[in-house]
């Protein structure tokens, strides 16, 4: 636990160096929320009640999707790629700390700081864009658990992506494609229930809906009652599968790792 705390503190110190950036980021997050707000507002005025949820819920979903972009900010994949490229990865391997745990701690640190950016923008959105709170305490608790599981799923996906650098050295281009796939099949912007049926089938087989779509759907009450348990179960299974998978992958990559120069 002490390790996680240390990394959160480190991430905070890193962020506080660029205080101006911090405020601009908050502003940009709000601008992004604002644009999503107008898209849904216009679409709903055109064709009210086309989607099974009301406008307020949809706007909440959209704004939340922007706030949860902080999930994308964990830079462990870049960290691993840079360390592999420069050869500095050997210093990470020498640390008396499991590499997997180290990366998790780093990622949690960055995400906690990211939340500090998302929260002010979210509060402004509550006041000006008519975003709603979870319907009841139970929903809030379920959302909280779901967001934690979602974080773990995306962390492991990032971790696996980063380890690809051991083989390809550069992950820049792969990660562009990766991010747009997560945005798409994760339902970060357009909710999955609006997708054509064929795409929904594909999305259900992929781990990406566990990242954004499930927590956000729980929040607005689109997933409710017994379905919540089922959805959390899907997230949990993906988390376990990806944690095991990435562990095995790391063991293998570690053996293949070539440290250049170092």
């Amino acid at each position: 636990m002490k390790i996680f705390w240390a990394f959160i503190r480190q991430a905070f110190q890193f962020a506080s160096v660029y205080r101006f950036n911090f405020f601009v980021e908050i502003f940009l997050t709000f601008v992004r929320m604002y644009s999503i707000y107008w898209v849904w507002r216009i679409l709903y005025t055109q064709k009210p009640g086309a989607f099974g949820v009301d406008m307020k819920q949809m706007i909440t979903y959209g704004v939340l999707g922007v706030a949860m972009q902080i999930f994308m900010w964990s830079r462990v994949q870049w960290y691993i790629a840079n360390q592999v490229k420069s050869g500095a990865i050997d210093t990470d391997l020498m640390k008396p700390l499991d590499f997997h745990i180290h990366m998790l701690a780093r990622s949690i640190g960055e995400t906690v700081i990211g939340s500090a950016l998302a929260l002010p923008a979210l509060i402004v959105a509550f006041v000006f864009l008519g975003v709603s709170l979870p319907a009841n305490i139970g929903t809030a608790v379920a959302f909280f658990i779901s967001i934690m599981l979602g974080f773990m799923v995306i962390f492991h996906l990032n971790f696996i992506l980063g380890m690809l650098a051991v083989f390809t050295l550069d992950i820049r281009h792969i990660s562009w494609a990766y991010m747009s796939i997560i945005r798409f099949f994760g339902g970060q912007w357009v909710p999955l229930w609006l997708f054509p049926p064929a795409l929904v089938v594909i999305a259900n087989f992929l781990p990406f809906q566990s990242t954004f779509a499930i927590p956000m759907s729980i929040y607005i009450g689109k997933i409710a009652g017994a379905d919540v348990i089922k959805a959390l179960g899907i997230q949990f299974s993906w988390m376990v599968a990806l944690a095991l998978g990435s562990r095995i992958f790391w063991t293998w990559a570690h053996r293949r790792l070539v440290v250049q120069g170092g």
């Binding site: 950036n21 601009v24 644009s35 107008w38 216009i42 562009w176 494609a177 945005r183």
Partner: protein, 265 residues
């Protein structure tokens, strides 16, 4: 050597340097195409449900997206390295341009090319051609002539805005967050027609960060929707906006050069 020849020479050299990495080109191109397809698919899914977005049907939205992309891809081919200006200043590598007996500006802008822009160009041209056919457009010769002017104006608008903002780092040492901001507005204008937003946003993208002239206003003209604009001449003035920005950028660059003090890298 005259400035244009020098610039072309520099671009040629940068291009040769880039061509060393073929595999990188293909993975990059593939990723860029995938990104664009995903974005267009999301717009498609939305509009397929709602039929139109404030009177813009799916092909008109694709047109809007691709018109922006065509101007942008030329920018990204030649000027992507503005993002690294702050790094050059921090490390002191900017000094190399000042040591040579040639225009600092020409040397700087000719520093690098980014071939990834070709993939964007492919998507943009395909998208524009497809929407032209699907929308059953018939442009007069003058509109056809105006198209390249619009595209190049778009490139110049994005280039000058980004260069001016990158120049902030001559004063503050950092500019990437400000470049992020320009990009944010760009991306919004690329994806959605400006008329869906509230007044302040429209004012910002028209007057303050005039990215709406890259695609929105000219698209109104090209798609025969010019009555949507507050005043119809907004559809024609993209080249003028671009020229004004070029003038402004010249001034900013001039002051930035006077301000420059090396970090001693």
């Amino acid at each position: 050597m005259n400035p244009l020849r020098l610039y072309l020479r520099l671009v040629g050299i940068s291009m040769q340097a880039r061509l060393q990495y073929r595999a990188d080109f293909f993975t990059g191109a593939f990723s860029v195409i995938a990104m664009n397809v995903m974005s267009l698919a999301l717009i498609g899914i939305l509009v397929y449900r709602f039929e139109a977005l404030n009177g813009w049907n799916i092909w008109q939205l694709f047109f809007l997206y691709c018109l922006w992309l065509l101007g942008h891809c030329i920018y990204s081919l030649f000027f992507w390295h503005f993002w690294d200006l702050e790094e050059d200043l921090i490390r002191g590598t900017f000094d190399q341009f000042l040591l040579r007996p040639a225009s600092v500006f020409i040397q700087y802008i000719g520093r690098e090319v980014q071939y990834i822009g070709f993939a964007d160009m492919l998507v943009a041209i395909a998208g524009l051609a497809l929407s032209y056919v699907k929308l059953g457009l018939h442009w007069s010769p003058s509109l056809w002539f105006f198209l390249p002017v619009i595209v190049l104006s778009g490139t110049m608008i994005e280039m000058t805005l980004n260069l001016m903002v990158a120049c902030i780092s001559f004063w503050t040492g950092r500019s990437s967050i400000a470049l992020d901001m320009i990009m944010e507005f760009n991306v919004i204008v690329q994806h959605y027609p400006v008329d869906i937003f509230g007044t302040w946003f429209r004012v910002v993208v028209t007057g303050l960060i005039p990215v709406a002239f890259m695609n929105y206003y000219p698209a109104l003209l090209l798609l025969g929707k010019i009555d949507k604009a507050a005043v119809p001449w907004l559809g024609y003035i993209s080249p003028i906006v671009a020229l004004l920005l070029v003038g402004l950028t010249t001034i900013v660059w001039h002051y930035a050069m006077r301000r420059y003090s090396s970090s001693g890298g």
